[in-house]
């Protein structure tokens, strides 16, 4: 190790500290943004140190540097533009896409290292093992994340996709990938082996994610995120780069914990999700509509809702998947603003899995300028329902299904929002169709509940108009 290498190493350590401090600060909403900037500063330091070291230490070919700069420009521009323009409802698939490219980049780095030595001496185990692992994991996350992104985007069906023999094909692909990886470790000049690992891993990534239901996709994306971290760490081992080892391991471990927490928040186990992809039937996913029985239902109109809201003191808005699907977050925020200006106390009750992925509803509402102090988490919200005059449920269903308190149904045991504790309830959805869990909701036939059938966006707009009349009157 030269003096330069020592300085670069120290810069990497500094970057690592900043990554950790950044992640640490991202735990609380008030410091989260600063945390991300701290992390980005660490990244800038790591990049500059690497460039300086690469120039001093090896120099390199001009054409390679041109390829680098071109690549950075193309990829960077693509990333920044997508990041700037993405609709907040589409965040899950963008995260998955960025995860895919990370895995792909890690695999490409390992491949380049392989190409470099293809004519030279045999690589030592300390390089060949990480190269093999990197190509394996990197390719799986690349193709797997792309499929997950496709599912979330709706390009690929969100339904679990299975076909006869898929399980056997899966096993075969895994065996081929692993076997060729082992062979490669002792035979580091074989291009064929590398290509086989690459192909088998890419196919495996696709096969792994295809059978997973769209609603489970966020957990898989988080898991693949952790795996990309590991792939990057392996790439770091292959080319002896500490920044990649540290940051990769950090994300690998942090991502694993985050995955477990997400799965727990969704009342699912990671195992059952992944194995679900291998043929285990998932009883709770999908589920056909229950018979719509409108006899016990009290229907209300926009005007009814408006009058109730205008004369309430405490209003709780309960947003669900339907609000996200309808992109009605701005309308919800506008309504809340209108009521707040009129002196009414309005809060949001946010279930951890309301929305398209855990925490997504908070992002959507934040986009609509809802301060995070108004977003009540499960426990706070449940403490507040008792004193709430009207709970306005917008496109939510399972997260406020009182049957979760009873055993023997798909939502049993899931922590729910105690919407039925509010003095009165209005549910805004398009029909009596069930939600994700595919079961009926006794809340809808509760005498104190009024059903307001409409699309969330349209329905809220109508309520806003109606409220304005009462407020200005």
């Amino acid at each position: 190790m030269t003096g330069t290498a020592f300085i670069v190493g120290s810069a990497y350590l500094l970057a690592a500290v900043l990554f950790v401090v950044g992640l640490h600060q991202m735990r609380a909403p008030s410091t989260a943004r600063r945390g991300n900037l701290v992390s980005a500063t660490g990244m800038a330091i790591a990049i500059v140190a690497t460039v300086v070291f690469a120039l001093i230490d090896s120099g390199g070919q001009l054409v390679a540097w041109v390829a680098l700069v071109l690549g950075l420009a193309v990829g960077g521009a693509f990333g920044v533009i997508r990041a700037r323009t993405v609709k907040m409802t589409d965040i899950p698939q963008l995260v998955s896409l960025f995860n895919a490219v990370g895995g792909g980049a890690a695999a490409a780095v390992a491949l380049a290292d392989f190409v470099l030595h293809i004519t030279g001496g045999t690589l030592p185990l300390t390089a060949s093992i990480p190269i093999a692992l990197d190509v394996l994991i990197g390719s799986v996350t690349f193709s797997g994340s792309l499929i997950a992104a496709g599912k979330l985007q709706g390009v690929i069906s969100g339904k679990p996709i299975t076909f006869p023999g898929s399980r056997i094909l899966n096993i075969a692909v895994v065996v081929i990938a692993l076997a060729s990886a082992v062979l490669f470790v002792f035979n580091t000049h074989s291009l064929v082996l590398v290509l086989v690992i690459l192909a088998a891993s890419l196919i495996f990534g696709v096969l792994m994610v295809l059978p997973i239901g769209g609603a489970d996709a966020p957990v898989i994306v988080s898991l693949l995120n952790a795996l990309t971290g590991l792939a990057v760490a392996m790439a770091g081992f292959a080319i002896d780069n500490q920044a990649m080892i540290i940051a990769g391991a950090l994300v690998g471990a942090a991502g694993t914990i985050l995955t477990l927490q997400m799965a727990k928040a969704m009342n699912r186990s990671v195992m059952s999700i992944v194995l679900g992809g291998f043929g285990t039937a998932d009883s709770s996913a999908g589920g056909g509509p229950v018979d719509a029985d409108l006899t016990n239902i009290r229907q209300v109109t926009a005007d009814d809702v408006a009058i109730q809201l205008a004369y309430a003191q405490h209003v709780m808005i309960v947003p669900g998947y339907g609000l996200a699907a309808a992109q009605a977050q701005h309308e919800a925020a506008d309504l809340a603003k209108l009521l707040t200006d009129h002196g009414i106390d309005v809060k949001y009750a946010i279930h951890p899995v309301a929305g398209r992925m855990p925490g997504h509803m908070n992002v959507l509402l934040a986009e609509a300028n809802v301060p995070y102090t108004q977003m009540l988490q499960l426990d706070e919200a449940n403490a507040a329902f008792d004193t709430c005059d009207i709970a306005l449920v917008i496109g939510a269903n399972d997260v406020c299904n009182p049957d979760a308190r009873k055993p023997g149904n798909p939502v049993s045991g899931m922590p729910i929002l105690d919407v039925d504790h509010a003095k009165s309830v209005v549910v805004l959805k398009r029909s009596m169709s069930p939600g994700y869990a595919g079961i009926g909701n006794p809340l809808f036939s509760d005498p104190k509940t009024g059903m307001y059938f409409a699309d969330a966006k349209k329905g809220l707009a109508d309520v806003i108009l109606a409220v304005k009349e009462y407020v200005s009157a």
Binding site: L37, G75, V80
Partner: protein, 105 residues
């Protein structure tokens, strides 16, 4: 060789420990931005792309350099920008905004 391996292994294991510990109970409010933020951090693979460029000496190497650079850049730049965009939206209520130490710094 074995010295480097040990040092890298120790770094790897300790970083895993840090990673496990830094994510203790996070409020679900931040699950989405947190995931995106972690995602951006593994964009450090861009360092690998730079090293690859400095060593590449064949057409295959140049192509892989380009691929690695493009993919890594999308990951790192896109990741940080989108995370920042999300987090920028998390605000405290403006009227009740009091000048706390945090805001001042």
């Amino acid at each position: 060789m074995i010295e480097t391996l040990f040092s890298n292994l120790a770094i790897f294991v300790l970083s895993l420990l840090v990673g496990f510990e830094v994510i203790s109970k996070i409020p679900s409010t931040l699950h989405t931005p947190m995931m995106s933020g972690a995602n951006a951090i593994h964009g450090v693979v861009i360092a690998g792309a730079i090293v690859t460029a400095s060593l590449a000496n064949s057409p295959a190497g140049y192509i892989l350099t380009f691929i690695a650079a493009a993919l890594a850049a999308a990951n790192v730049f896109g990741g940080y920008v989108v995370t920042d965009r999300m987090l920028r939206m998390f605000t405290k209520p403006t009227p009740a905004r009091t000048l706390t130490k945090e805001d001042a710094s």
